[in-house]
Subunit: 144 residues, 4 copies
């Protein structure tokens, strides 16, 4: 199976579909059935003790798997998360993060996979998430 | 077991500890071993199709369970999420949401429970999350 | 929405569809959109320390939600688990257990809900699980 | 970090600690921070349609991560599952399965990781699970 979108096309799509999101994430690479995403530092995500909020890390996982799925099926913006499970393993330092998403099953109706989440400050994963996305049945006309 | 904090104290704590979060959430009620939280509408949470982002709903679950736990143990800001699993069930309409958190086990090191998430637009739950929080071993001196 | 099956019909269905399972579980009650199931003690489920295996508790959750779903949609044996998340909270004593399953959303393709799991030895929940089941698209002719 | 147990020692430990389990699982390999486990076919795990029960697949995930953890910390039989999330992706054919467990974080109190589950019949994963185990605080004297 081949990617339907390049890194450039994906970053452009995110800019137009999610103006808010775009300023905080950048698609770095789109390997087959996967995505590598950078999360730029954002003071709003900080929590007491200089750590990142669990919700900010979850958002990175969610967006990374969304990008990995869209890269394979094309820009169907209405693709939505149906379930997710996340384990937080290490304290993320303030500063940027990055994520590596991997699709384990891409069916007609569902995309299932996981995301490993890293802090730029060290090598070991900060968190690990499993996600399932629902793919809309008909080709949507992109973003309205 | 009794609540350690009132609704007024909790809203004040959130304002001082999480200035960003505070403008978007309001503690409505603190029943024993639980919390009811209102999420104010926020245009940044919107997604194509007029729905809310999965990450915004996750954040509401996370904060609701955080508040439920802190109400029982007092304002230990360093309490952190260790794992979470969320099922998205219905499309949340644009507009406000609210959540009902319930602690199922409050141990010395862990708080385990679930959160039911509702859109203001209809009665049925939009999502349901299970969460586990780690409680810091010693009384922290509150927020720094 | 009304139940499609009585407790008697459900116990008979389980006996014919899952001879192995039937000797270990008994449907006690089928409230609307839910099920209460008893798990008989089984020495094979024991683990060192006199506790029950996590997998045995998971099986009880899975079967309870299966029964709750089938009670609403009729005996479609091919209904299968698509995802599950379970939190283990307290050590289950050796001896029987029981479970209360609750459907939170029953759609045409998916049934989503949770199960609270109890040891007969005490009142507090031993574990809590979220489950999603996939419902086969066409009426299956029951068990073959 | 090095393994504390060899494949031979682990299979012997399982035989003595879990006589029931041992006849159904076989440790194939113990790479650092991981385990590869074979599940022998067992007619009791079959379900209508010739597929394996979700609970049987969960048990394989649970045991695989248990073995991976014990291989690193030594035979502390009281190590227990605290949470798990599993996604079922493809129908497992009747016949054997195997699993590859991977530890993502091994702390003093918790072991966190995931397990990829395969049917012997085809290459693609049948299911994927995230697990967290609690490690007992003091060296237990093995199995009693």
């Amino acid at each position: 199976m081949q990617n339907q979108m390049s890194v450039l096309e994906m970053n452009r799509f995110l800019t137009s579909a999610f103006p808010e999101v775009d300023t905080r994430y950048r698609v770095r690479e789109l390997p087959e059935m996967g995505a590598i995403i950078d999360k730029l530092p954002d003071p709003r995500d900080l929590r007491p003790g200089g750590t990142l909020s669990g919700a900010a890390i979850f958002e990175l996982a969610d967006i990374s798997f969304y990008v990995a799925t869209l890269a394979m099926i094309g820009p169907k913006a209405l693709t939505v998360t149906t379930s997710a499970a996340i384990d937080y393993m290490r304290k993320p330092e303030a500063g940027g993060m990055w994520a590596e998403a991997r699709i384990l099953k891409l069916g007609r109706a569902l995309s299932v996979g996981d995301v490993m989440l890293y802090s730029n400050a060290h090598d070991k994963p900060v968190a690990h998430a499993n996600l399932t996305f629902s793919i809309p049945p008909r080709e949507s006309a992109g973003v309205k």
